[in-house]
């Protein structure tokens, strides 16, 4: 087997050195009646060629985003990732390193995490950021728990503009922990009366911007009301490129900002692995979950980095930890940081502008299709359309014409008749004029 360096001669020598007759003498602690006598019922070892063939066969059955006009978003976005990013994250020293517990031989990982934290803080307009979370949805659930600890209250209020699957993740943890949760009705129009839901028992209010439906919200009034009631505002961003064009939540009064960072540096990967961003105010840092890299010096006085404030974490606090999280999304965070460094402020602004323009042009094209209505007045790179036919059917019909036209809201909010004719549509810098025209033409045919 190509991954196993020991030869049979080695094995025999080693058993002798250990002083046992056979390998099974090392497994004596496993009760005999539960020890496997035969191989489990699975195929035998295979060489690279054979494995590659089997895997490629499965991969080939999928329609990859790059092969068709592609407008699917709703929390994961297809962007161009420079070739440099994937080359660098595949370097052995990044790819095959462990968590940086030994700082003297992990400065590469630690410094990139420090750069990542600085980039995320700047991008979100917050004081501090951690070294990343699993993804945006779990980061949101962790933010709610953090708000509960800080306010010593147990009621979270979720906006109806929050991604339905994020809501489900928060609800699950909240139900399991016995906390209270108020979920506002799905809000495609961006007109919900959120302020009225914030009261003296509220720990936090969770608002996504741009919303799941693409609506943009000035968070300032919500932050003011929340703070008046001594509650926290958690802002959720699922399209992090938007921060290159839009006022960051930190400048609008958010206390915690969580985001899905996949858009920068990471592929779609059918939903994972992604990278959760988590930023907050300096005064809350000790209640923040997740890893943190900090600056210090070594014994010769040189600049260096370490994991710090680790007493918040599970391996020390055990049942009193701020979270049970053990690790971050290191390699995805690295991809984020490298891509962000390649972009720089100038590149990110331009990328954001291109995304917005692509969406504006698509909205114009689609609203010209008879029967189609664009719900949003304002948006970044994603918006919601209403179609005269059930959205799920429309999307399937478009797929049959090799157009991936967005996400029917009914897939994520099943059983809600008011939402059955809505499609969330995203456009990014990868979409060409031809892609947009093809979408509008196909939609016209499907609806005819």
């Amino acid at each position: 087997m190509r991954y196993l360096p020991l030869t049979d001669t080695d094995r025999a020598d080693m058993l002798q050195r250990i002083g046992v007759a056979a390998i099974d003498d090392l497994f004596v602690d496993i009760p005999k009646d539960v020890r496997l006598k035969d191989l489990v019922d699975l195929p035998k070892a295979a060489g690279e060629m054979s494995v590659e063939r089997q895997m490629s066969r499965m991969a080939a059955k999928n329609v990859s985003a790059g092969s068709v006009p592609f407008f699917v978003g709703a929390g994961a976005y297809r962007h161009h990732v420079p070739a440099t990013v994937d080359h660098l994250i595949q370097r052995s020293e990044f790819l095959t390193a462990y968590t940086p517990y030994q700082p003297e031989i992990s400065q590469g990982t630690l410094q990139t995490l420090f750069e990542f934290q600085t980039q995320v803080a700047g991008l979100t307009g917050m004081d501090v950021a951690n070294a990343s979370m699993y993804d945006g949805s779990t980061a949101t659930a962790e933010a709610v728990l953090m708000a509960h600890r800080l306010t010593r209250r147990k009621k979270a209020v979720l906006s109806g503009g929050l991604h339905p699957q994020y809501r489900a993740v928060v609800k699950n943890l909240s139900d399991m922990a016995g906390d209270e949760l108020v979920c506002l009705a799905p809000d495609p129009a961006g007109t919900e009366a959120l302020l009225e839901e914030i009261d003296d028992d509220t720990s936090c209010v969770v608002v996504q911007t741009p919303s799941f439906y693409g609506q943009l919200t000035d968070l300032t009034a919500i932050a003011e009301k929340a703070h008046e009631k001594k509650a926290l505002l958690i802002a959720v961003v699922t399209e992090v490129v938007s921060l290159g064009a839009l006022q960051p939540p930190g400048a609008m009064g958010a206390d915690i900002v969580v985001a899905e960072g996949q858009s920068i540096g990471n592929s779609l990967n059918f939903g994972g692995p992604y990278v959760g961003l988590f930023a907050t105010r300096q005064k809350y840092v000790r209640q923040m979950p997740g890893r943190l890299a900090g600056l210090t010096t070594d014994a010769e006085g040189r600049r260096g980095y370490v994991l710090t404030l680790s007493t918040r974490e599970q391996h020390i606090r055990r049942e009193k930890a701020t979270s049970n999280i053990c690790t971050n999304s290191g390699l995805c965070a690295l991809a984020f940081t490298i891509h962000m460094t390649l972009l720089g402020a100038a590149g990110l602004k331009r990328l954001a502008t291109l995304n917005h323009q692509s969406a504006v042009q698509l909205a114009d094209a689609l609203s010209a299709v008879p029967g189609v209505e664009v719900l949003n007045e304002s948006f970044f790179n994603e918006f919601t359309i209403r179609t005269p036919k059930p959205a799920a059917k429309v999307i399937e019909a478009l797929a049959a014409k090799d157009i991936l036209g967005g996400v029917p809201v009914s897939r994520l909010e099943p059983g809600n008749a008011d939402l059955a004719d809505l499609i969330v549509v995203a456009a990014t810098e990868i979409n060409s004029d031809e892609d947009r025209a093809a979408y509008a033409d196909a939609l016209k045919e499907v609806l005819a």
Binding site: F94, L95, A97, E115, V128, A129, D218, A346
Partner: protein, 526 residues
């Protein structure tokens, strides 16, 4: 107050440099690298994007960013050098032995990476029409099948994002199962040798954690479990093989007692690499177990994630698996994504762990690993892992101290620090001296059940020659410690990119991001 039993210095002693200074501060191939904020500018970019179209009217609703965007950029060659130089300050499994106990740092095959980058897997959106992703669903179902067959379990929740997330998922399934029986139990039993995530997970769900002491030989005494079982105990969280490198030989009896008390058996699968193909958790009475794909199934650790933590489930728990899941039918794979889908399928999912479907990229890598090994290779890997650990044990047991005696261990072997008594060298010093020898240190000060723990897991990826050098090196270090060469240890590492770092200063006054230097005033400049 509670007392830290493992107090150790976190501020390094002042030491002098051993080599002459250089103008740049560089040391030949070891090149000092500033942070991007010191070298990049807001103007520079390493990406060429088309010019925006001036004629398109903005629809940002008056929320345009006015806040400054302090993100330095670098041109591509500069970015390349920056990150390559940084990478060279890391140790990695591709460079040498990584004997971290309970972390299973095995070889990461590059075929895994190649497969994960096939456009049919990497460039597929989680919410594109189900009809366009049959191969992705098939991959998930196939990966799930291999995991179930290998572990002898009935079902698997694929979506948890990492080991700790899988733990949470498993405990949620247990909580949901009790709730379905109209019960609300409040206690979870956790042995002292457990990973810190276990009690943290139980506490997160509102459970009271009751610790089970380890017996003299490092394993859990069924009597100690039975004594603590009651109709208020929801479950037990047990790592097997445990973090002392020992298989819990009374596990079947413990499982039986736990089940008789109406509780569930959660097994922490961190150490699954020791027993694949040799024993199946399903045959041991386990109700749920998370599997760290980044340990046993070779997906890369990536400097701290991303991992993946699928949870295999027993017959008693499988109905409660979270959404989404993939069901294999005669017509092909079917995605069960919503509560309505689940109802039609006759299951009672407790909820959802994450948006989308879990760590697909990791499933692809793990599947590639499993197909490569096959049933025979997986068993051989476990045998070699155990053989290697015992070979290291045999090579070191006369000079280092085994708290649980000279006996067979599983895939890792635990030493304590009594062999360093009266040398003035601590476990920490010993570990740092290993760095100078070109090895990553072993897991230290864990598990907490022995003093100055050193937990060594070589994995099956090491050759005999590699292990021989490792053993010889450790023997040499022991000899030097006993000979009184304390300074060598206290100053270590001498040859790493950095000497020991001041963790105390970092924690007392945390600096968690770069801040621009104070502008010099005219007065100060004079």
């Amino acid at each position: 107050m509670t007392m830290n039993r493992e107090g150790r210095p976190t501020t390094p002693d002042e030491v002098g440099s051993t080599a002459p200074d250089t103008f740049t501060g560089n040391r030949a191939l070891r090149i000092e690298e500033p942070v991007i904020f010191d070298v990049g500018t807001a103007e520079a970019t390493g990406v060429d994007l088309p010019e925006p179209d001036g004629a398109v009217k903005s629809r940002l609703g008056g929320l345009e960013r006015s806040e400054p965007l302090d993100l330095p950029g670098l041109a591509e060659p500069e970015a390349m050098r920056h990150y390559v130089r940084l990478s060279q300050k890391n140790y990695a499994i591709d460079m040498g032995l990584y004997p971290l106990g309970s972390c299973t740092m095995k070889h990461n095959p590059r075929l895994n990476e190649k497969m994960a980058r096939l456009p049919g897997f990497a460039d597929v959106h989680p919410l594109q029409p189900v009809s366009t992703v049959p191969g992705a669903l098939e991959l998930i179902a196939e990966c799930a099948r291999w995991l179930c067959v290998s572990t002898g379990m009935e079902a698997v929740a694929m979506s948890p994002k990492a080991g700790a997330h899988g733990e949470l998922c498993g405990m949620m399934a247990i909580k949901a199962a009790h709730a379905a029986h109209g019960e609300n139990r409040s206690i979870v039993l956790v042995p002292e040798s457990a990973h810190g995530t276990n009690p943290a997970t139980a506490a997160l769900l509102g459970y009271k954690v009751v610790a089970i002491p380890a017996r003299e030989d490092g394993t859990v005494d069924p009597a100690a479990v039975i004594e603590r079982l009651s109709d208020d105990v929801a479950g037990i969280m047990l790592t097997n093989p445990n973090t002392c490198g020992l298989f819990e030989r009374d596990i079947v009896e413990i499982a039986k007692a736990v089940h008789e008390a109406g509780a569930y058996f959660y097994c922490d699968g961190a150490n699954l690499n020791a027993i694949l193909g040799k024993a199946r958790p399903g045959d041991l009475g386990v109700d749920c177990m998370h599997i760290n794909l980044h340990k046993t199934f070779s997906t890369p650790h990536g400097g701290g994630g991303p991992g993946a933590g699928p949870v295999v489930l027993s017959e008693r728990l499988k109905a409660f698996a979270p959404l989404p899941y993939v069901k294999m039918t005669a017509a092909g794979p079917e995605l069960i994504e919503t509560p309505a889908d689940a109802e039609a399928d006759g299951t009672k999912p407790f909820g959802r762990m994450t948006a989308f479907h879990g760590q697909m990229g990791m499933f692809v890598r793990a599947m590639t690993y499993m197909l490569s090994h096959g049933a025979d290779g997986l068993r051989q890997a476990s045998e070699d892992a155990v053989l290697n650990a015992n070979y290291v044990r045999a090579g070191l047991q006369d000079v280092m101290s085994l708290p649980f005696g000279e006996r067979p261990y599983m895939h890792e072997v635990l030493f304590d620090d009594s062999f360093l008594d009266d040398t003035g060298v601590s476990t920490l010093d010993f570990a740092k001296a290993m760095i100078d020898e070109g090895f990553h240190p072993m897991t230290m000060y864990f598990p907490l059940v022995v003093h100055g723990a050193m937990l060594i897991e070589p994995t099956e990826s090491e050759s005999k020659a590699s292990l021989d050098l490792f053993v010889a090196t450790l023997r040499d270090l022991v000899m030097r410690a006993k000979r009184g060469e304390v300074d060598r240890f206290k100053g270590a590492p001498w040859y790493a990119p950095r000497r020991r770092l001041d963790e105390t200063a970092a924690a007392r006054h945390p600096v968690l991001k770069w801040t621009p230097p104070e502008p010099q005033t005219a007065d100060a400049a004079e």
